[in-house]
């Protein structure tokens, strides 16, 4: 038995199969963000009510930054929870900010009206803000601590308890090691 050859064969094939098997553990479309723990990219957005809002003005507050679009089903799914948390925590030094992307103003309005959303929302017409935040699948949510650092990123729909927990972590400046993931819709 030519053991040396057989071992050599195994030494090549097994790692190869291992690497391929590793492929099953990941979502090939998922793009890990390098932004977590980094300062949140600054931006100014025109809100739907016409006012302008700058991220820099929100320094000292916890910012819940949510990218959405009216055509995205998971965004619809999470909309009520978002509004509910906002209603509950709006006075606790927390700001919710929705950024509507790849959408028409009319449809965005309809969305806001449908879910009776009261927190500030603006439209990113050029896509600059979403690219700045490395957005690729919505809803995508960033939690920004009072120092202006991104503490957590979640791709996909959020639910009440997670939002509350992550808002609390952001308030304390705790940076999550991992991104969160739920049902998302790839943007266009």
């Amino acid at each position: 038995m030519p053991w040396r050859r057989i071992l050599l064969t195994l030494a090549v094939i097994l790692p190869l199969v291992g690497v391929l098997a590793f492929g099953f553990s990941r979502d090939p479309r998922y793009i890990a963000s390098p932004l977590i723990g980094r300062p949140a990219p600054p931006f100014t957005v025109t809100l739907f009510d016409g006012k302008k809002l700058s991220l820099a003005d929100l320094r000292g507050k916890v910012v819940f930054l949510n990218f959405w679009a009216s055509w995205c089903p998971p965004c619809r799914a999470e909309a009520r929870d978002l509004e509910a948390v906002w209603q509950r925590y709006r006075d606790k030094n927390i700001v919710f900010l929705g950024i509507d992307i790849q959408d028409t103003e009319k449809e965005a309005f309809a969305f806001l009206k449908e879910f009776q959303i009261t927190y500030p929302n603006g439209r990113d017409a050029s896509g600059k803000i979403s690219i700045d935040y490395g957005v690729w699948g919505i809803p995508e949510t960033f939690f920004i601590d009072p120092e202006g650092r991104i503490t957590y990123k979640h791709v996909g729909g959020l639910e009440y308890p997670i939002i509350v927990a992550k808002l609390d972590e952001a308030r304390r400046g705790l940076i999550s090691a991992k991104e969160g993931k739920g049902a998302y819709q790839s943007i266009r």
């Binding site: 793009i31 963000s33 390098p34 790849q102 896509g127 600059k128 935040y133 490395g134 943007i187 266009r188």
Partner: protein, 551 residues
């Protein structure tokens, strides 16, 4: 090589060289976006992707270029947002360096390895010296080679001398090639003089060995089919062979025929629709799996039939189409001719608008039982409503009337026949009603994901609003209680909210499936749908709407 000539000519006529004209900025934009991976696509570069995201990214690249940023800075910007993932060619730093250098290590390593090994083989060759051989044999070799005969290596031959025969053929071929190369001027005199004796010596050695092995072994060469045929044709040395071959062909043909027939019977016996995804098509005939893979006990099959039919029927009444289809499929799996199942399939297909499929199903049902009432009814109605084949419809329905006992059902059928006869009498009028210019017609269906949300108490509103004024009451509304989807509708002036206004022009059509049947309130959970190609002109047909939104 005409292609080459064309090429050269084509290159000649090219003017001013192959230089690109686009502006510098455009070039840079392309170069950069070719290097960036579109985050929302499946492996396209930002340059090639038509997606909105890629368009925005291109715009951003252009903007940054105009701001005077260098390509490296722009790429670094994107890397800081999306990670190294965004670069279509990995960096030459860190672990990714491997992917750049390994190919060249493999190439150079391979070349060096091959050269070393080849050198060892060359050295080994140098050690062995050709021995002296008989000049008579050499002469024989030269004689054999000088003919035009092609010496073929036939690896199919077997036997103790096969190796030698092939070796001989190989050496002869090489000698012929050598001779030809020399003639063609590819080989110099000295090379030729050097190589030829070496091959000849080898060939002579093979010849000697061939001669020393018993001559009768020649017959062990398994003749090739073609050669054998040639032999038969030329010499007819074996009188028995042709008749035997004929016998073999006949046997083969018979075997193929039997095989085909058996296969046919076998297949048709074991054909069976799959009951579920896990089910096997190799049904009980082959593997003993039960019907639809659901029941392992073949004895239960017939008994199941009735309960399956009942199930299917119940599901049909509930308008749970997929359940009903499932049940009837299983019935058909057990008894592929069951008229009830075919008929219900037909009815479901009619609902779905698959008219031809439905007709096919009804026909299948009727082929087993030509007097099956429901199938007659279904076929008649399909012919009448969807196909406009009035006489065909009439024929079927009249047959049905003759079968039915007098009662409400028979009365209904008779009524339909009368209606049909009327229409037949006045075809022009009926035709006009089909293409009424002041109507909107189409079908409404429910998005398959939302089917679970249907409620039997729902009422459907078809709402037509003028495209010019979004506010105010709608132009026309039609309410349908307890709708059955898919549903075809027709909306005309009679449905207008306010008479007096003209029913015409561009309108937006939408539908709402309302929970409580009150058009003025909008309950959460109601289903909505709007026509994709709003606004439409009144008079349009085929305004098909899908209920696909949830309030």
């Amino acid at each position: 090589m005409p292609s080459l000539v064309i090429l050269v000519l084509s290159l000649l006529v090219l003017p001013t060289g192959l230089q690109a004209q686009p502006t510098d900025l455009e070039e840079q934009l392309r170069a950069i976006s070719k290097e960036l991976r579109c985050p929302v696509c499946q492996n396209l570069s930002v340059a090639d992707s038509p997606s909105e995201m890629a368009q925005q990214m291109r715009a951003l690249v252009l903007k940054q270029l105009k701001e005077g940023k260098s390509p490296e800075q722009i790429k670094a910007y994107f890397v800081s947002k999306y990670g190294e993932w965004i670069l279509l060619s990995p960096t030459t730093k860190g672990f990714s360096l491997l992917v750049w250098i390994l190919p060249f290590i493999a190439l150079t390593g391979g070349i060096i390895f091959v050269l070393l090994v080849a050198r060892r083989w060359v050295q080994r060759k140098g050690e062995s010296r050709p021995s002296e051989v008989d000049p008579a044999l050499i002469q024989r070799v030269q004689q054999d080679v000088s003919t035009e005969r092609v010496w073929e290596i036939d690896p199919e031959i077997e036997g103790p001398r096969a190796h030698l025969l092939n070796e001989q053929a190989r050496l002869y071929t090489e000698l012929q090639e050598l001779e030809f190369d020399y003639q063609a001027g590819r080989l110099s005199e000295s090379d030729y003089q050097d190589l030829r004796p070496r091959y000849e010596a080898q060939a002579a050695k093979v010849l000697r060995e061939l001669d020393s092995s018993p001559a009768e072994a020649m017959s062990k060469k398994r003749p090739h089919r073609a050669e054998r045929q040639a032999k038969d044709a030329g010499q007819a040395q074996n009188g028995k062979a042709p008749s035997r071959r004929g016998w073999i062909f006949a046997a083969t043909g018979a075997f193929l025929l039997v095989f085909g027939v058996t296969l046919g019977i076998f297949l048709s016996k074991s054909l069976r629709p799959r009951g579920s995804e896990q089910d096997s098509i190799t049904g009980d005939f082959l593997t003993g799996t039960g019907p639809g893979g659901l029941s392992a006990d073949p004895g239960m099959r017939r008994a199941d039939l009735q309960s399956l039919l009942t199930q299917g029927h119940a599901a049909f009444e509930r308008q749970d189409w997929s359940q009903a289809i499932d049940a009837f499929k299983k019935v058909l799996a057990i008894d592929s001719d069951r008229p009830e199942a075919h008929t219900y399939m037909g009815l479901i297909l009619t609902q779905a608008g698959h008219v031809d499929g439905a007709l096919l199903a009804f026909n299948r049902a009727l082929s087993t039982n030509p007097e099956y009432p429901l199938a007659l009814w279904g076929k008649g109605m399909v012919l009448y409503r969807d196909k406009g084949d009035l006489s065909g419809a009439r024929q079927n329905l009249q047959k049905l009337v003759s079968l039915l006992p007098s009662g409400k059902e028979r009365f209904e059928v008779q009524k339909t026949i009368d209606e049909l006869t009327n229409r037949q009498a006045t075809p022009a009028k009926s035709k006009q009603s089909v293409t009424n210019p002041s109507r909107i017609e189409g079908t409404i269906s429910v998005d398959s994901k939302l089917k679970a949300k249907l409620d039997s108490g729902d009422a459907l509103f078809i709402i037509v609003r003028s495209a010019n004024s979004a506010k105010g009451p709608p132009l026309a509304v039609k309410k349908i209680d307890r709708p059955v989807f898919p549903l075809s509708y027709s909306l005309g002036p009679e449905n207008m909210m306010m008479s007096g206004r003209p029913f015409g022009g561009k309108v937006n059509v939408s539908v709402r499936l309302d929970r409580d049947g009150n058009a003025l309130t909008r309950e959460p959970g109601s289903l909505m749908g709007t026509y994709e190609k709003n606004p439409v002109e009144i008079g349009t047909q085929g305004v098909d709407i899908i209920l696909d939104q949830v309030l």
